[in-house]
Symmetry: D2
């Protein structure tokens, strides 16, 4: 049994991770922490756990010392010191926040307003997009777990960009996310009477996930890829649908595209390339699947890629567990093999 | 591995049962049937199962012959012949419909408009309220799995009525259910623009679950119990909250009531008597829990019992599996030990 | 044109009042105030008003001086000084808060934790339940506009209690309200991922509207009426459904009850006693109607009264305007004659 | 008073038109029809109208004969005969369906599968995009009222295309609509448990509104404009948000774009070009506004136009009334001057 712990377990990603880890039969959750709720029981915050597997939030230090595999779900700028501790003590570290996702400190500084405090450490970081970086993840000790939007987008475009099928490097990405993406903090936008029966884009052209998306797409394409990325807020709890518009090179056919997606993904358990159906939140919610459907607009020789994920599972806690499974050589689907309830 | 099958697997209760049974590690689902969709794949109807554990809907006969443990989720009047077949062939039968719930054929005739076709068979039926009838369920071969409203109500009142704490036998029950309770059939009431942002009671005083509720409450109380039962339709997918108003006998204190609930339920895994919190759908959804909170109105010496369940799990598929576990001597929580996701 | 003003216009009731008053062709809104947003434009908070009838929030004093008819929508304890000013300057005052609803200062003290600062003033207050107190409202200068739950309940029970049809004075009231009832303040309970797809009762037996409900029902019945009142939070924006359970005296028939409701309400424009339909939020939302349906449970000789209102209109701003219309001798439906959009 | 009638008043657009027309003080609704519900009262279908302005659905003929201004909201292929009757009898006709929107019969045949039966009549049709075609509408007798998606899109792009600011003629349009867009007919997609908490695109590249969108955009641009149009289904009742991506010619600045929108729209009552806010369904619902916000992506010299309308008002019934007002020389805002309720 792997001794795992969660730092920042009181937030949405942290508690989802806790819920999923409890169903994983090769791990033991040895400690969870929350700076705000230290000493309180989990069920005080989330009564769903009352009588199930309730316990107290401990200190971050307790997690660091008791666990060998540490997950952290924290605001930007806090994870580095914990990662350093893990690095020095031979523990593995998966960061669900943004501190280990960006390769260039300048990007981090620009979008998160901070410097890296442990610059050397970042050389060890691996971007935890499980299906794409599996080999690197195997031997990694520090994982930057991908953001929710980036997961939906990079998985959606990976075969297309890797095969250099795109005509030019400008891609339109219109994403829609449920409200859990904004987390537990009370905000005007998530006040029920404000959010319910409403819909709107937000942070047009300046969402913090933009550099992460472009960094990973550029690596896939081996060239600089810039995207127009517009996120929208869906008045539902969970899930991200990204609708992506890409022009194809003249000599590439839609069949080529379909074949590429099947080649890259047919062996991937958690990625389903749909035939004849449209990707839909309904069928991925509460699961670790990423559903992808491909559509063709002949007049512009354009592909429309639709991807659907659960932002809290494949977009956060589920992929973190998938990465842990890879790091420990476990069956990759352990603890996260679930079909979405259809209602 | 127990060979299980589901007749009527294309409906909401049937497919939920299928989803849950796939996560039960001591059963093998050998066949599922649907008269309407025979030959079609499950994922045609419910794409959530695409690539997960997809298969074809077979005939009812196929299920009857391949499985040793048969679940049926069918409209009233169809189950009896299947139960008879099982009875004659030493198979176990759990009916999620209404055909084996009522003790008196007259009640069945009155509320469902049909006679029993296999009268003798009904002597063998056991009402599958797991926590209350566990001993009978152990040796049963034909289970009438409780309705969703009756489950939320009878579990909510069991200690109170068994201890004869109620002053008189009239109890007000105000229940609220999500829309999956009405199933897969398209209706005006479940048309999205009609149902969304709406709320209303329905079938006031004439809901088919009334005789079932009164039958079971009367057994618990050892006297005729009549209830005023008003169901309401919540514009959400899942869950039932029942708010129940019961006057106490003069010499019974609220402490007596609390003690009774703890005595009856503290050893029950799936029933949580809350202390200081109010029962809430949020914390039971997608789980097999029944949460109960007790509240006291001193001016009338009245107890208000609030119970919350997921209508599709504890109110249908989950309790059916719990009953199967009991019948086969398995750990009772097998396959249905899940905490609700908190969002 | 009546010069009206709103103190506390930035809250939900205040801004709804503003919206409705703009459609009233015999009033001119001369000023609106907000202590928190003074100097900001209405459209900063509520962009719906951008280019429509936008203006700045002024000081409370500005409203008091410019308007002859002052509406106030404020937290408990602030209205009295404004009412006093109006009283001294011959202006009319309608308080949408709780400061002028309770007849007994002791009740106010118990439930709101404050003393009355202007005790004499309270002798002039009239409870603004338009249909019931119309004659007193005509000549009133200070109106305590009813709370949302009390409106749905007192209108629902008025004929029944006035005719002394109820067997005893204990009545069960199970109410369900949309989230706007809790207002604009961010709370855990109104955080979208928490509230959405959830449902639960709250403040069981201790909601502040209880003394107001009992005070008014007692006046109608000419005897002390106590109620068991349990409010629930609906995951929708607007509306209150109250389901009320009342036992009838032996010699009273259900026909008597129906006749009484028709007698009391057939001439009331805003109260619809339904025949053969069930009261439903869908058909009162965004309107000033109170729909009432009556149902009979013969086994207990019990009437179930269902009432449905829009909590922000008939339960707040709409009824306030109705009261103003009565006070000024205008057509009572002026500015509030609207059918609910059916979707 | 203009004598107006509605053919096909039982559908969603028809009943919304009825609701709005009842608040218009220069018209009298003299008859409404429904082939399916002839002889039934409106309140049987839509209880919101009970006691408000209830009446019976009459025959289509009755409407044709009693009214001078006829609105029709019918499936494709039925309106022409009614339009012909109006044409022959000097009555005005506004078709909320698709029969008089397309200039080329070939397009109609391709997308709706039918020929025009009254070919000459179509020479008289005017596309009722009020702000754009106001002058033609003034003298028109047959109006093809725009579809909901086309309204949100053509108004959103009008200044940009008219000024020829777009670099090339391929535009990406990602639209999201509430469920009322699909109307009153029961479908799997609008079954509450299916639709609720779900989200997905549909009819990618083959939605019937595509030829209408391209026809009107091409007229504005004076060149063939083709669009990539992907509609999505929002799990809410009302509203359309269209997010549109357009590359600018090199010498056009974003300031030029902003100026153009202000020039074209600052005098338009129902079009609000937002400054510093993002267009949002919340602030247009139940109103006739079209809110537009403009955003700039410098890396691609690309404009992102976001438009938000209520699909049933500006996208159907409201614009129909606006067109009637124009045809009759009334104040254009008559009967449709409403601010959205903010919750």
């Amino acid at each position: 049994m792997i001794k795992v712990g969660i730092i920042g377990a009181s937030g949405y990603a942290g508690i989802e991770l806790y819920r999923l880890l409890l169903g994983h039969d090769e791990v033991e959750v040895v400690a969870v922490s929350s700076q705000s709720y230290i000493g309180q029981s989990i069920s005080d915050l989330y009564p769903a756990f009352y009588g199930y597997d309730d316990r107290f939030f401990e200190s971050d230090d307790a997690v660091l010392h008791k666990a060998e595999m540490i997950f952290a779900s924290l605001p930007a700028g806090i994870s580095e010191k914990y990662a350093k501790f893990c690095d020095e003590h031979g523990k593995k570290f998966i960061d669900l926040g943004a501190d280990f996702r960006l390769d260039n400190e300048a990007d981090y500084k620009e979008w998160y307003g901070k410097d890296y405090s442990e610059k050397e450490l970042h050389k060890k970081q691996v971007y935890g997009l499980s299906e794409v970086n599996r080999d690197k993840i195997k031997n990694a000790t520090i994982i930057g777990n991908p953001g929710c939007y980036p997961t939906s987008i990079t998985l959606g475009l990976y075969p297309l960009l890797s095969e250099h099928f795109n005509l030019n490097n400008d891609i339109v990405i219109d994403s829609k996310s449920g409200t859990t993406g904004a987390g537990k903090t009370l905000t005007e936008d998530s006040h029920f009477p404000r959010c319910n029966e409403s819909f709107h884009p937000y942070k047009i052209g300046n969402h913090r996930h933009t550099p992460e998306i472009e960094q990973e797409l550029s690596k896939m394409a081996n060239e600089d890829i810039h995207v127009t990325f517009v996120p929208h807020l869906l008045p539902i709890n969970r899930g991200i649908v990204s609708t992506m518009y890409v022009k194809l090179k003249e000599d590439v056919t839609f069949d080529d595209v379909m074949s590429a997606y099947h080649k890259y993904y047919d062996d991937e358990y958690f990625i389903r390339v749909l035939n004849g159906k449209v990707a839909d939140l309904k069928f991925v919610k509460y699961s670790n699947y990423c559903d992808i459907s491909l559509h063709y607009e002949p007049r512009y020789h354009q592909v429309i890629v639709v991807s659907a994920i659960d932002n809290m599972v494949k977009g956060a806690a589920g992929q973190a567990i998938q990465n842990m499974n890879i790091m420990y050589g476990l069956e990759e689907t352990k603890g996260i093999k679930m079909a979405a309830p259809s209602f």
